[in-house]
């Protein structure tokens, strides 16, 4: 059963990933990305990370991909790229070499270090282990708000900075004339 879940999720992940880099239309690439993200969420559940699986679906598939699609639609770049032409001649063979080489190196390292993997922590509580249904969230929250509470606070600062920076970046200069996309932004940003 676990094997079946793993194989299905792996097929989703790799199929989506190949779709992202091979589909010429950016919207199709974004939809393939959703497939990959859902596959990763399935594997999160299989690895006792239930809360992260929910966050993966909500934040990644829900927010980030929608943001991608929104930008694609807003900018009107939703035309298919021509993947036939290769502006730099040796780029694709080199990229293939880099990809295969990287995969080989990481895979060799993983297989080499297989024997050193051993249980050593206090363990992750699971509902099937009799620790209650919300044990994963409980344990994650305990770790987050005790050991990493400073990093958590810094994260909030990071998010505020990101929001302010994006508002500054995406704001248009006053003098430029209005086009269709601009009026859409104005409507969405509300009162200015």
């Amino acid at each position: 059963m676990q094997l079946f879940v793993f194989i299905c999720a792996a097929a989703m992940i790799l199929g989506g990933a190949v779709g992202v880099i091979l589909r010429s239309h950016p919207v199709h690439a974004a939809l393939s990305l959703i497939l990959t993200l859902f596959g990763v969420a399935v594997l999160f559940v299989a690895q006792n990370a239930h809360f992260l699986a929910a966050v993966q679906v909500i934040v990644y598939a829900g927010a980030i991909v929608v943001l991608f699609l929104f930008v694609i639609m807003l900018l009107g770049v939703d035309k298919a790229d021509s993947l036939r032409i290769d502006p730099v001649k040796v780029q694709r063979p080199l990229a293939a070499v880099v990809g295969v080489g990287l995969m080989g190196l990481i895979g060799a390292a993983i297989v080499q270090g297989r024997s050193t993997l051993a249980q050593r922590g206090t363990g992750i509580d699971t509902a099937s282990g009799g620790a209650g249904r919300d044990s994963n969230i409980r344990q994650l929250a305990t770790d987050l708000f005790s050991n990493h509470v400073f990093a958590f606070e810094i994260t909030s600062v990071l998010l505020v900075i990101a929001v302010v920076g994006t508002v500054l970046l995406a704001r248009r200069p006053r003098s430029s004339g209005a086009s269709d996309g601009e009026s859409v932004i104005r409507q969405n940003s509300g009162a200015k």
Partner: protein, 106 residues
């Protein structure tokens, strides 16, 4: 509980994450649309997240899952800022690819 042979071990997860990461690297190197390159960066981040979660489960340490939480937050902030930059670049020159914006001049 389950048959030992048919249970995917941590090594399988790590190898899958390695494949996903390599695919993301190839995508960044091959594609020229800045948006799609960004999506490939997300692929690589997800591969790393998968590695963290698999190792957290194997080592029995919840710290891996906490790290994934932070990675997700930083990825969200990164996407917001990156898409803001891409919007402001593409507004100035529509249809720009990564080749067109090779020089850092407006």
């Amino acid at each position: 509980m389950v048959i030992a042979i048919a249970t995917p071990t941590t090594t399988w997860y790590l190898l899958l994450a390695a494949m996903l990461f390599s695919t993301g690297v190839v995508g960044v190197l091959v594609r020229r649309n800045p948006l799609v390159m960004f999506m490939c960066i997300e692929l690589m981040l997800n591969a790393v997240n998968l590695t963290f979660v698999a190792m957290a489960n194997k080592l029995g340490d919840i710290g891996g899952q906490t790290t994934v939480f932070f990675v997700m937050v930083v990825a969200a902030a990164e996407v917001v800022v990156g898409l803001g930059i891409i919007v402001s670049i593409l507004r100035r020159r529509p249809g720009a690819t990564a080749d067109d914006i090779a020089e850092l001049k407006g």
